[in-house]
């Protein structure tokens, strides 16, 4: 599991880390008992402040998604199927809300968006099963050139 952060995003770094871990858990990439990188390792790899990583890990623990084993590190907790489904829904909602927010800002209508979503799903090879090979998310806010 490779994490990445974007420092210039308006989303705080710790929140980006939390979101990525949640998404990984929701997608089943991180399973119960998997070890997360140590704070030290994560901070060095991402080149972010260890305080920030620690903050993210505390948040995850607070939400019950991870637990800490003293001397061993941080591990993914057993997450029940309803909780997992809930996380998946949250991830989906976050993606969709972001997309819709941008779309409405550009003046697109809900009807246009619904039609476009259906059309895209229909044209995707294998009905979206190969989605995992698509490139990662674009930046959180799209820069619009001034009129």
């Amino acid at each position: 599991m490779l994490f990445s952060i974007e420092a210039s995003s308006p989303v705080p770094i710790y929140a980006q880390v939390v979101a990525q871990v949640r998404a990984a858990i929701a997608a089943g990439e991180l399973r119960a008992g998997d070890a997360l990188p140590s704070v030290r390792q994560m901070a060095a790899e991402l080149r972010v402040n260890p305080n920030t990583v620690a903050q993210a890990y505390r948040e995850l623990e607070h939400e019950g998604l991870t637990y800490v084993q003293r001397g061993q590190g941080t591990f993914v907790a057993e997450v029940g199927p309803e909780r997992l489904a809930g996380e998946r829904t949250q991830v989906a909602r976050a993606l969709v809300e972001r997309m819709l927010h941008e779309a409405f800002r550009l003046g697109l209508t809900p009807a246009e968006m619904r039609d476009t979503v259906d059309a895209c799903l229909a044209t995707l090879p294998g009905g979206g099963a190969r989605a995992a090979t698509l490139p990662a998310d674009p930046p959180a806010s799209i820069a619009i050139p001034f009129t």
């Binding site: 060095a44 305080n51 001034f146």
Partner: protein, 325 residues
């Protein structure tokens, strides 16, 4: 130029053991009060900065703003005309040697005894620092690719920078003072340096004051931001609050007079049928206040650290020009 504080004075809460922005005001890692110094045509005036324990404090500013001078004053390489310096609770002016012992310093242009070999320089340096960890020094040498057999005068700029960082870290100081540590380094060397630095901070909980032009790098790991311009410290605030406070606003053209605005207007530029304002002191609640004043707000644009910093400096420059003109 007035010193405008983007933050309230830090409240004396204990810094959390891990996580969150360190904001302890009790015995900070580093503090200056009213530092002033004339140097040729340049004058540093009334610089009061505070680095909380365990924080990474990024010092930004244009060339000639006084960042290097400030760091040299903290290290006792220059004596201030006025003001105080406190490092890890030690008075830097009265007990300079003791204070320097607590600091890992990487100067702008490291000037090591150039006739020595690297290995000799390390052994020489170790003599002055009781806390020198030879095993850690050896590991750092390996990680940084520092070759003990080479002569210091033969080292390239990048190699010198890496050696300087090694010497600064190997005695495990509680405070790091870094003046453009990655200046002139290639991307690989920069990454390695940054990784080592962050690992050290993780392990030791050390506090860091780093001045750098690489704002994008700093943005990743700074807790606090200090901005210097024209010899003064013009801003000192937690990073998130800094970014939260400085925004660009897209407003309809023909907006109201500036005097009645709840924030500080850094600049306003016409763009077709709109205007773009750069503002400081923004709070989300102000969107409503603007509507009440008849300003049609179209969008609030988040800025990254570099854009925030540039707008702040340009805004102050415009203000200076306006006063002078």
């Amino acid at each position: 130029m007035d010193r405008i504080s983007l933050s309230d004075p830090p409240t004396p809460e204990a810094a959390p053991a891990r996580g969150g922005v360190p904001t302890s005001a009790a015995a900070p890692a580093l503090r200056t009060r009213g530092l002033s110094r004339r140097l040729g045509g340049f004058s540093l005036r009334d610089v009061s900065l505070t680095v909380p324990v365990g924080a990474v404090y990024g010092l930004l500013g244009p060339n000639g703003a006084g960042k290097t001078t400030t760091l040299r004053l903290v290290m006792g390489l220059l004596r201030p005309d006025a003001g105080e310096v406190e490092v890890a609770g030690i008075d830097g002016l009265r007990h300079g040697a003791e204070a320097r012992g607590k600091v890992g310093y990487v100067p702008e242009r490291p000037a090591l005894p150039d006739w020595m070999t690297v290995g000799r320089a390390m052994r020489h340096h170790a003599v002055f620092y009781p806390g020198w960890d030879a095993a850690y020094a050896a590991e750092l040498a390996r990680r940084l690719g520092v070759d003990p057999a080479r002569r210091v005068r033969q080292l390239s700029k990048g190699e010198t920078a890496r050696l300087a960082l090694l010497l600064a870290l190997a005695h495990r100081p509680p405070v790091l003072l870094l003046d453009e540590p990655t200046d002139g380094l290639d991307a690989v060397a920069r990454r390695t340096l940054t990784e080592l630095l962050l690992e050290y901070v993780s392990d030791s909980g050390a506090s860091v004051l780093v001045s750098s032009h690489l704002v994008h790098e700093l943005e990743r790991f700074a807790d606090w931001v200090g901005v210097m311009d024209g010899g003064r410290l013009v801003a000192e605030t937690p990073l998130e609050r800094f970014r939260g406070s400085i925004k660009r606003l897209r407003v309809a053209a023909g907006a109201t007079a500036e005097g009645s605005l709840p924030f500080h207007l850094l600049s306003r530029e016409p763009r077709g049928r709109e205007e773009v304002w750069a503002v400081r002191g923004w709070e989300p609640a102000m969107a409503d206040a603007l509507a009440a004043r008849g300003v049609e707000l179209r969008e609030v644009v988040d800025l990254d650290l570099e854009d925030c910093y540039v707008e702040l400096i340009r805004g102050d420059a415009r203000k200076e020009a306006a006063h002078a003109g």
